[in-house]
């Protein structure tokens, strides 16, 4: 059995087990205390979590939606959203591949997604061909033998409440920002990872292996803790497009790295971007933050953002521990009418903390791409260093690139470097490739991949290949 088959089946079997839990209800649109209590009750949560949710709700009710980002979109009616709904059932979805939008299938084909995997992604009910339970179990066994906890958030609530109570909201407090606060009140599920002291997680943890990956919903919450000396690499995201309505997605990810621990978090985000006219697509307002809480801790964010109508996302690092390291490698693509306002925050608190930011923005069609980054060196961060490189690539006449770097240095021993560039795919580069017999589309992909190389090389191998394919698909038609 080849690997993709395993992925598909593992995923499917997980989903199957999960759906029974939350099958029935969809609450009426709108958000009040009753909704929050209902969610918490459904999840059979301990009191501390309900209290936390309610505090978040009360706080959120006094907040206003932020509008500082370089984004334009129709107002979101928060009262029209249903905050608790079961995943889409197979019976509502297409009955077979023949019922699925052929455009979507063509995309899957280009991505090299295996046939039955395509069906699953498109929401078609597929019969299990192989027995996957054993495969899933093997992964679980390997992880638990190493002492690694990797489970859905709702399962962690039941099985590891002490860990949750200790760490939840300690990096992104419930008061943090409008979307994170909303998430804190109403999150329904997500992932939980705990790697015990000195343990190197024996495999890359991926949402492929996570229950209900395709249907986690609008308000995910992920919490990853690497205890002293631990290492974990986490891959997030479905690398094939999801067909979704114009919909709010407000997730929160918290990472905590203790002494000498390392967390590598890679995302390939490819939510539905809307069509060529800019109709539909996901509004992705996500708060991702990691804290290097211990000495010599290291947190790396690598993201490839090709989807969503709106991307509002700043995976950040709080560098509290001495000698800790934060890294942010990002490729963000906007085509058609997509808009992205993305970047990072590096908050240097500990002495000799270091951070690296490499951001590559690609704008095509009417796409608008903004890099927004904060480098903050606090008085305590003697000897802190930051290097930022921020490059934009423009394609076509109507796209835009914007850079908003914020630098605050309050320690005279700190060193901060910032480099930025904006370029276009030149006619010369394109003609050079054509003259070597390489077709226009391949040539553009090659040039764009070259532009993104420093980021792609941070991704795990298989992921890098998929990211490259994805980029090709998302820029299709960008060069006439």
């Amino acid at each position: 059995m080849s690997t993709p088959d395993i992925d598909a089946l593992v995923n499917r079997s997980y989903r199957h087990g999960f759906v029974t839990d939350i099958e029935s209800d969809t609450v009426a649109p709108g958000l009040d205390e009753n909704v929050v209590r209902l969610i918490s009750r459904k999840k059979q949560e301990p009191q501390f979590l309900l209290d936390w949710r309610l505090r978040a709700l009360r706080h959120w009710q006094g907040m206003r939606e932020p509008h500082w980002a370089h984004l334009r979109y129709h107002p979101i009616d928060y009262a029209a959203i249903s905050y608790y709904s079961a995943p889409r059932q197979a019976k509502d979805g297409p009955k077979s591949l023949a019922d699925v939008d052929p455009k979507l299938l063509a995309t899957y084909e280009k991505l090299g997604v295996p046939l039955h995997e395509r069906a699953r992604l498109a929401g078609v009910a597929v019969d299990a061909v192989f027995d996957s339970v054993s495969v899933a179990t093997t992964f679980k066994e390997r992880l638990s033998a190493a002492g690694v906890i990797f489970c859905p958030f709702s399962e962690a609530v039941q099985k590891h409440p002490a860990l949750l109570e200790r760490y939840l909201g300690t990096v992104v407090p419930y008061t943090d920002n409008f979307y994170a606060t909303l998430n804190s009140a109403v999150f329904t599920d997500g992932s939980f990872v705990y790697v015990p002291p000195g343990v190197r997680c024996p495999m890359e943890l991926s949402t492929y292996f996570r229950i209900n990956a395709a249907n986690t919903g609008q308000f995910e919450r992920t919490l990853i803790i690497a205890d002293a000396g631990a290492y974990v690499s986490y891959l997030e995201g479905c690398t094939a497009p999801m067909r979704d309505e114009n919909q709010l997605h407000a997730a929160v990810v918290e990472l905590i790295a203790l002494d000498d621990a390392q967390i590598k978090y890679s995302t390939v985000q490819n939510w539905y971007p809307g069509d060529e006219q800019g109709r539909g697509g996901i509004y992705n307002f996500v708060t991702k933050r990691g804290e290097c809480r211990g000495r010599n801790a290291r947190i790396s964010w690598t993201q490839v953002e090709t989807g969503s109508a709106i991307t509002w996302k700043y995976p950040s690092c709080i560098l509290r521990g001495e000698n800790s390291v934060g890294e942010f490698y990002s490729v963000a693509t906007t085509n058609n009418y997509q808009q992205a306002d993305t970047g990072t925050k590096m908050i240097h608190i500990g002495a000799n903390t270091r951070s690296t930011i490499v951001s590559k923005g690609i704008s095509a069609g009417h796409g608008q791409n903004a890099y927004r980054g904060l480098v903050k060196i606090l008085p305590s961060a003697s000897g802190a260093r930051n290097f930022t490189q921020c490059d934009s690539l423009l394609m076509g006449k109507h796209s835009g690139a914007h850079t908003f770097p914020y630098i605050e240095v309050r320690n005279p021993t700190a060193m901060v470097e910032h480099e930025a560039s904006t370029s276009r795919i030149s006619e010369e580069q394109l003609f050079y490739c054509l003259q070597r017999g390489i077709g226009a589309e391949d040539a553009v992909n090659m040039i764009v991949s070259g532009f993104c190389r420093t980021v792609f090389k941070e991704l795990p191998m298989e992921f890098a290949v998929e990211a490259q394919n994805l980029l090709a698909v998302s820029l299709e038609g960008a060069v006439g």
């Binding site: 580069q429 050079y432 490739c433 054509l434 003259q435 017999g437 390489i438 090659m446 190389r453």
Partner: protein, 264 residues
Amino acid sequence: MSTVPGIAAAAAAPLLEVRDLRVKVGGQEVLRGVSLAVRAGEVHAIMGPNGSGKSTLAHVLAGRPGYEIVAGTACFEGRDLFALAPEQRARAGLFLGFQYPVEIPGVNNAYLLKAAVNAARRERGLPELDAFEFLAVVRAKIKLMQIDESFLSRGVNEGFSGGEKKRNEILQMLVLEPKLALLDETDSGLDIDALKVVADGINSLRAAERAIVLVTHYQRMLDYVVPDFVHVLARGRIARSGDRTLALELERRGYDWISEQAAA
């Protein structure tokens, strides 16, 4: 290997035949009726002063955008060249060695070349080369061009010196083995040692089934790559054609006398 012109001419239809080609750039007529026949096995040199249209001719034949073809035809192996997209011309065996090869940051030199080789192989219905087969082909050629192997893993022309860029062009040509190579001022900016290496590379590709057109301002390249024919472009027309002695005459007398004749 040099071919006796008269015999070649009688033997085969031209590989490239350009007839009365008129081309405008930015509304101005830069080529004003160029005719040229190049047969397999031949080496032609196209010389001329700056602005005479030499580079334009090479670019138009390769399909670079931005030129307006007003009149005339160009046939490559009997096919209408202007009906083919630039990449189709390349896959059919037309190679342009650029005067100023562009940098493509982050794109591995070997990666681009492998994609180019395989695009041409697909066109011919041949199986694509895998990484090992490709490397075997390239290794032999980089030796000839006196290029270090680390060169392959650098970005295309990224941070290359002028001489390295030109060697890279010739390396690509050697690997792609085109039927017709148009080399646009490949000699410019080369010191004498690099010039010899580049000339050796070009000469190694001379063969009965292949033709080479050297576009050059100076005759010194022609000491190393000896042409069968020399054409002088002036004011958008071929003002004079001859054998290599014409190049030597130009070296002595400069271009002015030909330009004056062309104007007359």
